[in-house]
Symmetry: C2
Subunit: 200 residues, 2 copies
């Protein structure tokens, strides 16, 4: 059953001060609606975070507490200061590199695609999308202007307005496609989101 698959999957959401809270919370919400396990990890020494628009959010664990654990997918939201803080954090980059080497999904949304993944040369020849024009600052990866870009283990999303599309596509890569109760397509209908799947 799709729910059993979901319950076996684990996703790490990496949050640093200044993160885009709606990108993070909508993604976490969709994952948990689908019974996928999510650890919300603060990339700092305490759990309490400062977000882009001052919603008071506290993580489940610090990244250092969970650094040795392996996840099926690693997600990062945008937010200008949030991605500046992620990209300059050696522990974040080491965590990403290990998950890339293990073939796990790397899922940057908004500016994290350019400013964290491309800035550290981690996309290689893979395609990705990121926040507006930020890709021009980095040679790594191949920028494609789409809502969501899937290339191998890299699943990237353009910005806040595509967060549901992005979350459901990440979910389908973790739990498989389907239309039955518990599937990403069922849940999209359940929450009255009609933007995804794109016209088929």
């Amino acid at each position: 059953m799709i729910k059993d698959v979901a319950m076996s999957k684990r996703v790490a959401v990496l949050l640093a001060d200044g993160f885009e809270e709606a990108e993070a919370v909508a993604f976490i919400d969709i994952m948990r609606r689908l019974d996928i396990n999510v650890d919300v990890l603060a990339c700092k020494d305490e759990l309490k975070l400062n977000s882009y628009f001052k919603v008071n959010i506290t993580a489940d664990y610090t990244l250092s507490e969970k650094f040795e654990e392996n996840y099926d997918a690693v997600m990062m939201p945008g937010g200008p200061e949030g991605t500046a803080n992620l990209t300059s954090d050696k522990m974040v980059i080491d965590f990403l590199k290990r998950h890339i080497d293990m073939g796990k999904y790397i899922c940057p949304l908004c500016s994290s695609g350019a400013k964290v993944v491309a800035a550290n040369g981690l996309f290689g020849k893979h395609k990705y999308v990121s926040g507006p024009n930020l890709y021009k600052n980095f040679d790594d990866g191949v920028h494609v202007d789409q809502k969501v870009v899937v290339d191998g283990q890299f699943i990237s999303g353009k910005g806040l307005g595509v967060v549901f599309d992005f979350a459901f596509i990440v979910a389908e890569h973790l739990i498989g496609q389907g239309t039955e109760k518990g599937s990403a397509r069922w849940q999209a209908q359940h929450i009255d989101y009609d933007g995804w799947p794109y016209a088929e």
Copy 2:
């Protein structure tokens, strides 16, 4: 300027334990992106809230701290336990009644339309939309199956998947329509949300 109008507007977001966190956070985020003032109010004796999908969120104030203040709009998210807690809270209902009497915008998303506003007989003859089939339990108001329903001072949204549409429509009622920088339509493009405005 539209920003000056926005900065003069105040929105109260009412959160009770069990609230739908992505509905709340995406709405707050869009308001604050547009420079509209938001107070996140906990409808309980402490600021720390339990959310539907266990994201740790803390309010700005308790409702009792801000009960005497008047807002231009009052928003409530869904979440089964959240709306059960809101509807049984006399302070919440008194706060809503006073804002209705003052002609302010009342903005329920998802189940809060039926379970809080209709359940307390506050819609009168106004049209609204709410979570699936919940309207059948209540005689108050006239249910219409649309993404977002605007009828006078009542602006209601169907569910999580329409949260951006809902937030931008509430914003346009507060700050006016426009396409210039700082307007709701500009911000929708800025965050790469292409679902709204609906086909025109």
